[in-house]
């Protein structure tokens, strides 16, 4: 297979993936830092490079509603948003998953107001973590491109909506080298559309999303939970197919390096994986046995592979760009800690909140944290006098 090597930003790479996916419908509303995904894609449509019904909606709530309608008609549907836009979609997120619609959405992760801020953190998608969407976090521009292609395959087979998250500016606006797969290879991988979609436009009339009262609502929700439980299998199968078509390996759930003998392990989500992995490698050079775990798929939560990776580690440090404001630290930390509860010997645990609103994480801060030893509890890195939860 001949690949093309080009330089693209994360947003341009996602738009290119969309063109190759050939969606039937895109309905979207622009918002920083996701705007260029839709902007670039609309140019492809205008130039006749892709035959997509492009709906420029009047709000994000309408954009996702249009996606729901199109997906219910059996279409392959894509959209993109960020931050306040995702917050405005919140109501419709639950409808998309409850109706089992395979919509794929790229989210350019950005902080939430107030105070207003356009830069990256994970507050937006963490607010959607219980909405019944699969959530995958990209590490690089290449990863954002690859995972967007993979997400369509997974969504259409799991019959669940999927968010592919890429950090605002860090990935969306950064130019990186990208290996582009041939259009024919993408089309062979994905086919023409959802193989098993709804047929609202088919011969027999159907009602999608009728009233379900106490006698059946809970059964529908149990079935949705079961669909989510099966996602790891679908993802495993998806990355095998991805490898067969593109010759590229993608870790489906977590990516753990050097945790086997680690005394301290750093756990991270998204584009800071590079910086954190490098910090773990520098610690190794200093003689400190450090490991690194990147959580790739956050929904469903990869509890079993995380337990495997972190078994026997003395100190687990979660580094994350969101807060639950509950006093328990960030959402990733809360869930990693819950997953580790069933270990026979539980590690010490430190939750480090960093990078809110796009604040950079500096190498010296990571090295200092490792040199001093993780303090336990919850730490707001780089904010004076900020520890809120003392270690037990």
């Amino acid at each position: 297979m001949s690949r093309r090597r080009v330089g693209l930003t994360g947003n341009e790479a996602v738009a290119l993936a969309w063109k190759q996916i050939r969606p039937h419908v895109v309905a979207a509303y622009p918002i920083t830092p996701a705007t260029q995904i839709v902007e670039r894609f609309s140019e492809y449509v205008a130039q006749g490079e892709v035959d997509t019904e492009f709906v420029a909606a009047e709000s994000e709530h309408s954009a996702l509603s249009a996606c729901v309608g199109a997906a219910a008609a059996g279409a392959r549907v894509l959209t993109a948003t960020a931050s306040q836009g995702l917050a405005l979609m919140h109501e419709v997120l639950y409808i998309a998953s409850g109706l089992r619609l395979p919509i794929v959405m790229n989210v350019a992760n950005r902080a939430l107001s107030a105070p207003i801020n356009i830069h990256g953190d994970h507050s937006d998608t963490m607010g959607s973590r219980d909405a019944g969407w699969v959530q995958i976090y990209a590490r690089s521009v290449q990863d954002a491109y690859d995972r967007t292609l993979l997400a369509v395959w997974v969504a259409e087979r799991a019959r669940l909506p999927v968010m592919v998250c890429l950090d605002g500016f860090t990935l969306t606006h950064s130019l990186e080298p990208l290996e582009v797969y041939p259009d024919e290879a993408v089309q062979a991988f994905l086919g023409e559309g959802p193989p098993d979609g709804y047929t609202l436009l088919g011969g027999e009339p159907i009602t999608v999303g009728p009233l379900a009262l106490p006698d059946s609502y809970m059964e529908f929700r149990r079935a949705l939970a079961a669909a989510m439980e099966r996602v790891p299998e679908v993802l495993e199968e998806g990355v095998r197919a991805f490898r067969a078509h593109f010759g590229q390996d993608l870790p489906p759930l977590v990516d753990a390096r050097g945790t086997e003998d680690a005394e301290v392990a750093l756990v991270v989500l998204g584009s800071y994986a590079d910086a954190v992995e490098q910090a773990a490698l520098r610690a190794r050079v200093r003689g400190q046995r450090a490991g690194f775990v990147r959580v790739v798929t956050f929904r469903p939560f990869p509890a079993a592979p995380l337990r495997e990776a972190l078994r026997g580690v003395r100190d687990v440090v979660v580094l994350e760009r969101a807060d639950t404001l509950s006093g328990l630290g960030g959402p990733l930390g809360v869930e990693v800690r819950a997953a580790l509860y069933d270990l026979e010997v539980r590690p010490r645990f430190t939750d480090v909140i960093f990078g809110l609103g796009g604040r950079e994480l500096r190498d010296e801060e990571l090295d200092g944290l490792l040199r001093a030893g993780p303090p336990g509890g919850v730490v707001y890195l780089g904010v004076e006098g900020s520890r809120v939860l003392e270690p037990a």
Partner: protein
């Protein structure tokens, strides 16, 4: 009867037209009574009825579908004043 959740993997989808079987007429507190002697067949009630409960045939209003009329009264409200062919009367009265 308990629903088997394992049979619900397609999500909440049912055959179309099921609302016909759901008789919402028993929600009604007031009933529209149509006086066909006064009706001018302007079709405003048919147009406005949110439950498609005004039956028409051959371009003329025929009757009210009491199995599905919820008694909202919009038909009586839009009926032209000089016709006043629809009265709302409390259920249980003549």
């Amino acid at each position: 009867m308990a629903t088997d959740w394992q049979a619900l993997d397609r999500g909440p989808v049912i055959p179309g037209g099921s609302s016909v079987a759901y008789r919402t007429g028993d929600w009604r507190q007031e009933r529209p009574v149509l006086d066909l002697q006064r009706c001018v067949h302007c079709m405003l009630c048919w147009l406005y009825c949110p439950d498609s409960a005004i039956r028409v045939a051959g371009g003329r209003v025929v009757e009210v579908d009491y199995d599905h009329c919820k008694g909202c009264g919009v038909c009586a409200a839009v009926c032209p004043p000089r016709a006043s062919a629809i009265r709302m009367v409390p259920e249980g009265s003549a």
